[in-house]
Amino acid sequence: MHVPDGFVSGGVNAITYIISGGVSVFAVREANKKLGDKQVPLLGVVAAFIFAAQMLNFPVAGGTSGHFLGALLAASLLGPWISCLIMTVVLTIQCLLFADGGLTALGTNIFNMGIIGGVLCYYLLVALKSIFPKNKGGYLISVAISSWMSVVLGASACAVELAISGTSPLSIVLPAMASVHVLIGIGEATITTAVVGLVLNTRPDLVGTYSYPDARTFNRMEA
């Protein structure tokens, strides 16, 4: 899903660069408000975690595998703006060091994965949470659906951008991208739900979006 150089047109690049730039500046401010001077070490280590987690491939079917995106995981644990900031750092470094995703398409990639996958789907999670029963099961179902959506919506946004740029007609690229990512999204949803469930059991204070009374308050002094 990392768009290389040359696939999207100059106009699409410019618009997504402006949006992504503005959102990252806002995200820095929000993260600073929430974390203060804890921001730098914590975000650095969590960004390194996303990097390492993306190296653990999960099996899709037969012998093929996909890798974890992590935007919604970060959003459900740490909130939308911190997630967006972490994804911005991770995507920029993937572009510079691994040539994964083009430099001119970096704005587009941050928009697809950080803003749609992290921020937009965070609000989807908040909306879903209010529909499903207010307990752990309902919460995990909304995490599963919104993480699946984060992959599918990100891929669809990518398809729409390619179509606007005239690279490939929408009627072909949208079904192609969506159908592959519907499958990859299942992996993402399984993993995100398992991770959030595990963190809920061990450090519930780290799951920022879980606010129901049955969350145990974990006191590290007692442990």
Partner: protein
């Protein structure tokens, strides 16, 4: 454990490695942007860009297999999105090629789109590989900072660089432990195991971040990293590099 998956070969010595990081950032970013803005029909321009990049590659003494091996990263995306375009796009004016197999045709405009994306993405990838293989990562960040990138991004990135090896080691140890217990997962519903691994990895990383923060606080951290040296002055070689590369690229772009 030894990791060199980030800035491999960035510590060898050559003319290109000796240049200032700022100069290399400007040069490769400039080349990428100019290349992407070039109309696909000016074949000569793309030829010149390749020659320029080949020149830099030869001067940098990087092994060819390293650069070409890593440049394969674009292939999945090209395969998924672009390879079918010539068969699908219909020419408005005639001039396609009939392959004569079941009415399969290849259109000129489609081929042009394919050529456009392949050549631009490839040049972009080569630029980024040359940049990351000739500048060690900490110096690259310093270069970006000198060029005016907000400090918060570079400090987060430098912390990431510091811890990515430790956390990757942690992930590799977990993977080894899993494999030695005969995981052998082949299907998507086996992903739950990976989920638990990633969950454990998250908690360990987050707690490491908290410990690092506490350790920093106890050593007087107040939100600002001190001890950064000033902006480095450019050397004559840096000016020569820029004054050769930029006019050639700009000239070729504007003339054709």
């Amino acid at each position: 454990m030894k990791h060199s998956f980030l800035d491999n070969y960035s510590d060898i010595s050559s003319v290109i490695h000796g240049l200032d990081p700022k100069v290399k950032i400007i040069a490769f970013f400039f080349l990428t942007v100019v290349c992407v803005s070039t109309p696909p029909s000016s074949y000569f321009s793309f030829g010149v860009y390749f020659v320029v990049l080949l020149g830099v590659l030869l001067l940098s003494r990087l092994p060819f297999h390293h650069v070409f091996g890593r440049s394969m990263v674009v292939i999945p995306f090209v395969l998924m999105v672009a390879v079918f375009i010539p068969f699908l796009k219909k020419d408005i004016i005639g001039g396609g090629y009939n392959l004569g197999i079941g009415g399969l045709t290849v259109s000129n405009s489609g081929l042009m789109v394919l050529w456009n994306v392949v050549v631009k993405s490839y040049i972009g990838v080569i630029c980024m590989i040359l940049l990351s293989s000739t500048v060690p990562f900490p110096k690259l960040l310093k270069g970006f900072e000198d060029l005016g990138l907000p400090k918060i991004f570079t400090t987060i990135a430098s912390f990431m660089y510091r811890y990515v090896f430790i956390i990757t080691d942690e992930a590799q140890r977990m993977k080894r432990a899993r494999d030695s217990r005969c995981f052998g997962g082949k299907w998507i519903w086996h992903s739950k195991v990976i989920g638990y691994m990633i969950g454990t990895l998250f908690i360990r990383s987050y707690e490491r971040g908290e410990r690092v923060y506490v350790a920093m606080l106890s050593r007087g951290f107040d939100g600002d990293l001190k001890g950064k040296e000033g902006v480095q002055r450019l050397k004559p070689g840096d000016y020569i590099f820029l004054s050769v590369l930029i006019p050639i690229v700009t000239g070729v772009r504007l003339m054709l």
